[in-house]
Assembly symmetry: C2
Homo-oligomer: 405 residues x 2
């Protein structure tokens, strides 16, 4: 039978990253493609103690249905952490637990977007957000972005000129895909502009606590006097992603709307997983865990930067992130990253071509590299293979150019 799908399905396509993950399950492949945290740092032994404690203490209620809002002690921990660590005053009622922060993005689309509404985003931006929002058929509009963040005059121009802007979606800390972090000054000016225009801001912060260099910069949420910022957080990068536990923090009336949307989407997030994270947080020191993560990721970023400096041609540029999981490379304009990926697959190294992160397309000479999930020597080897493939393409391209002359 031929199924008739909704029109929104025309715009949905398989995520290149997810499809690549299938290839990268082969152990011989050096994958710099996914966004996987370093699994060797997951606290497996601690989790055994946690799992037993949860079943001892909560028993049957850990296995039962629970409220859509989420497990109260976990929401309370998040509210405290956001208030004390990030300077964003948050009450327990302002927090909704979600099935990963990906679900929080999906619920945001469900809550706000009618077909044809406009979402402003950084250029480039997180591909998973584009995919989540696409189900609600908005138009995306890229706002030019530099090393300090979204360019505020460009944002202001669009807010003034474009009708139906519903959301501004941003990742200010160690952005996926570029690894860039917004400066404090840029955040302040951004908030002045959005305050004047009264538009809802989605501040997606999966990496904020994974800073291994420099001083933390307060989130937009901490500068939000009007209740217009929705902050998205997750335990995926500071604990582990397999539990799928994230959250949205917003003004209480907004959280009530999210709760309504989540009821229809999946009733609530896993009771036992929420209790396990809350129990882990009470039994163990997540900051000690974070220190290990930061140390390892810094060493891996360093290994990647050292190798890139040796392997890439002088005309290539790349970011030097102070945290997070990703680094962004601009190759010479005549190197097509999708073609490069094909060559790299043969050499056993994979990455994500950068073009997918631009809703308007283009930028086919960019790539996103992940450094969190491979040991330093594998990163160095991966960069050697990548460098060889780039040199090969450049040589053929200049040979082709000579022939053409």
């Amino acid at each position: 039978m031929e199924s008739r799908f909704a029109r929104r399905m025309d715009g949905l396509r398989a995520s290149e990253i997810r499809e690549l993950l299938k290839v990268t399950e082969r152990p011989e492949v050096i994958s710099l493609a996914g966004g996987l945290p370093a699994a060797e740092l997951f606290p497996v032994e601690e989790l055994k103690a946690v799992a037993l404690r949860v079943l001892e203490e909560h028993g049957r209620s850990a296995m039962q249905y629970s409220t859509t809002e989420g497990h109260l002690p976990l929401r309370a921990w998040i509210a405290r952490r956001m208030t004390e660590r990030l300077g964003a005053t948050t009450n327990v009622d302002d927090v909704l637990i979600t099935s990963g922060s990906q679900q929080a993005i999906d619920l945001t689309g469900k809550l706000f977007l009618d077909e044809g509404d406009v979402v402003l985003c950084e250029s480039p931006t997180y591909l998973g957000a584009l995919n989540a929002f696409r189900a609600y058929q908005p138009r995306f509009m890229e706002v030019p972005t530099d090393d300090e963040g979204m360019i505020v005059s460009e944002l202001e121009r669009r807010l003034a000129d474009v009708r139906r802007v519903k959301l501004v979606y941003v990742v200010p800390d160690f952005q996926n895909p570029t690894g860039r972090t917004w400066s404090l000054e840029r955040r302040r000016r951004f908030m002045e502009v959005v305050r004047r225009h009264g538009v809802t801001v989605v501040e997606d912060c999966p990496y904020s606590e994974v800073r291994f260099e420099g001083m933390p910069i307060p989130p937009l949420k901490s500068m939000d006097a009007a209740g217009q910022v929705v902050f998205l957080g997750t335990f995926s990068k500071v604990f582990c992603p397999g539990f799928r536990i994230g959250w949205a923090a917003a003004s209480r009336p907004l959280v009530e709307k999210y709760v309504l949307a989540k009821q229809g989407s999946d009733l609530h997030t896993s009771t036992i997983s929420q209790m396990e994270i809350a129990t882990y947080l009470s039994m163990f020191d997540i900051d000690a865990n974070l220190r290990r993560i930061r140390e390892v990721y810094r060493a891996r970023r360093d290994a990647m930067i050292r190798a890139l400096e040796q392997e890439l041609p002088a005309s290539a540029r790349f970011t030097r992130p102070q945290g997070g999981l990703f680094l962004w490379v601009e190759l010479p304009p005549n190197v097509n990253a999708r073609e490069l990926l094909q060559r790299c697959l043969e050499r056993g190294v994979v990455f994500v071509p950068g073009g997918s992160f631009f809703p308007d397309g283009g930028h086919e000479n960019t790539i996103r590299l992940n450094y969190s999930n491979m040991p330093e020597e594998r990163i160095a080897e991966g960069m050697r293979r990548l460098g060889a493939a780039v040199r090969e393409m450049l040589a053929q391209s200049s040979a082709g150019a000579r022939r053409a002359v």
Copy 2:
């Protein structure tokens, strides 16, 4: 700041059931409102062994991101179970793991429904499905239903006359809210009609394995030669709901579309929860667990029926389900169930007024009773309180009628 929400949010309202669950957390309240399984039957001790085994065997990969499709051994178990137990031949590739079957309903809406498309459903139908679908702004059309299932001539008339019918949503086994089960003959005739019209059928089967009386009747999926039935299953009623693990089983091309939609919604369902259920299924005998569930639920249904026969006026009618969690009562036409609920709240017993289960409204003299989550003596006591409240309303109503005369 005043937020501008999407138009779909106009139609979403808080589920009465979910709001009631908050009241029912008070231990003195006899709750026949929720759809909670009997928590005392959850295999807590077994789960301790399972949790340790998963962390021993899978360790870090249990805590890592995983594929959208789901954990392969769990999908394989489901495919075998559906093939061997339900007679619905299913391959592992036909199964997508979802975050509860509620998410499978939501994804179905996302996949199929444009604004104004029509969803045909039983009258009454599952409230959670209405809430999930409402986010995609369809029109619902009730199809009259009797004790044997959807009335096929009424279905056929609508399929012939109504444009833009995209889905037929049904719960053929021990339906929520009525407890009714479709006869085999009705299923066959239903399948003939939908085959002729080539419409997609969503067969929601959360309760099918919780049959405590009579012979199992094959699911619609087992009669589906054209690949037009999407079967939704869940571990919530046969194991426990706190894990939020369900599935959709459909033709492979359809599953691929579901995978796309799920990627945007939450990337994937909890890795560790999927592994825990798969490990439970390999270490323990779920059928022994099911036998305990069936025995207890039968005794509770019996207790409820005995009490209803004593407590309700002769003009009331109720169903006698052969499985599942719910029983349906039609009170005398002059008893308004929402008003009755207010009186019952004062007496410490709660249920769900039936009107919410009809998309077109009306039927305000009906109620849904859950018998799975209270011991027999509490059920009997709850029915006594309910009966007293009904008699009180009837007495006042006839006194009012006398005054009016």
